[in-house]
Amino acid sequence: MYKNLPSKSKTLTKLIDKAILPAIVLTFSKIISLIIVNQKFRLNWQVGTSGIIYTSKSDFVLANTYSSLFMYFSIMAGLLLLLIKAVRWHSTHIDPKVSARLHFRKLDFLVTESLDLYLNTVIWLGYSWLATALMLIQSYYNLILPWVSYIALFVSITATIFVLLDIEREFGGNAFDKVCKRESISFLDLGRILKSG
């Protein structure tokens, strides 16, 4: 599919590929949550030519807050799955025992390659920070209850830290450290082994 494209375009096309599913999931979660909130709180609303119209600001804030929160929960779920993949099932530093267990249970597909993982991370973290920025702006203008934006900010920062730690594990440290880690031997053990010849 990407054969005839320049390398930059290939990456972009892969990013687009990865962004389709989250975009659909998040859009639907927002719409469905709006319907649920409108029904649950019996809000006074109607569909007009310019969109969904509320006859009072409090109704608008309530609908916006809970639908944004629901959408952010979807982002959190996506990020959580990615972080589990990054920490536990990342092909470059998966624990041998975990790898063997997955293989025996025929769950090898859970082991994720770096490129796949990082492309997904770019998308989900992107959505997370975009949603957080939007919620912070909206809470500044009193269009959303502020606690939702604080939760989003906290989750985005935490997720970013975990992703950075995973990148550090992937690219940080030298090859010698990696060999020691993979073989589960310490630097002192290695010294003893070399000394004994």
């Binding site: 320049p6 989250p22 709006l34 969109g51 969904i52 609908a63 959505y127």
Partner: protein, 155 residues
């Protein structure tokens, strides 16, 4: 070179749209400032039009200028923005009469910031609905067009 530029621009645009897509429903949410929402109350000797929250049930009253059986009450059915730029609002009022008849129509009004109520004497005519004109939170003028007479109410 140009071909690559076009391809990359197109791909960036598609990627941007995909990133923006989940946030579009938020953009479609709107509300009307309560200040611009009209409702009306009929009292014994006068009809009072006030700015009240939409959806409020209005008081049921007898208008003594009309024959006794024509006590009626109203409530706002809808408030709709007809023009995003001019903030044109319309409120349809539903009128119920004790004799079982009812009527639904519109009264047009352009709101004035200095005044949030108008008093109407129902001897000859009664309003049937409201229309509000203004910009944003600020409405400039109120006009009420009376087009139902006591005679019409008795139909």
């Amino acid at each position: 070179m140009i071909k690559r530029l076009i391809i990359n621009t197109f791909l960036f645009a598609v990627f941007g749209i995909l990133l923006a897509l989940p946030f579009l429903p938020s953009k479609l949410l709107k509300y009307y400032p309560q200040k611009n929402v009209l409702s009306a109350v009929a009292r014994n000797d006068q009809t009072l039009i006030k700015i009240l929250p939409a959806g409020d049930m209005l008081q049921m009253v007898a208008v003594t200028a009309f024959p006794q059986q024509f006590a009626y009450y109203e409530r706002i059915l809808e408030v709709r923005n007809f023009s995003g730029r001019d903030m044109l609002y319309k409120a349809a009022v539903f009128v119920n009469f004790v004799n079982g008849k009812n009527a639904q129509a519109e009264v047009e009004a352009v709101f004035n910031n200095n005044s949030d109520e108008i008093v109407l004497h129902p001897g000859e005519k009664a309003y049937t609905g409201l229309k509000v004109l203004g910009r944003g939170d600020k409405v400039e003028k109120v006009e009420v067009f009376l087009n139902i007479s006591a005679k019409d109410v008795q139909k």
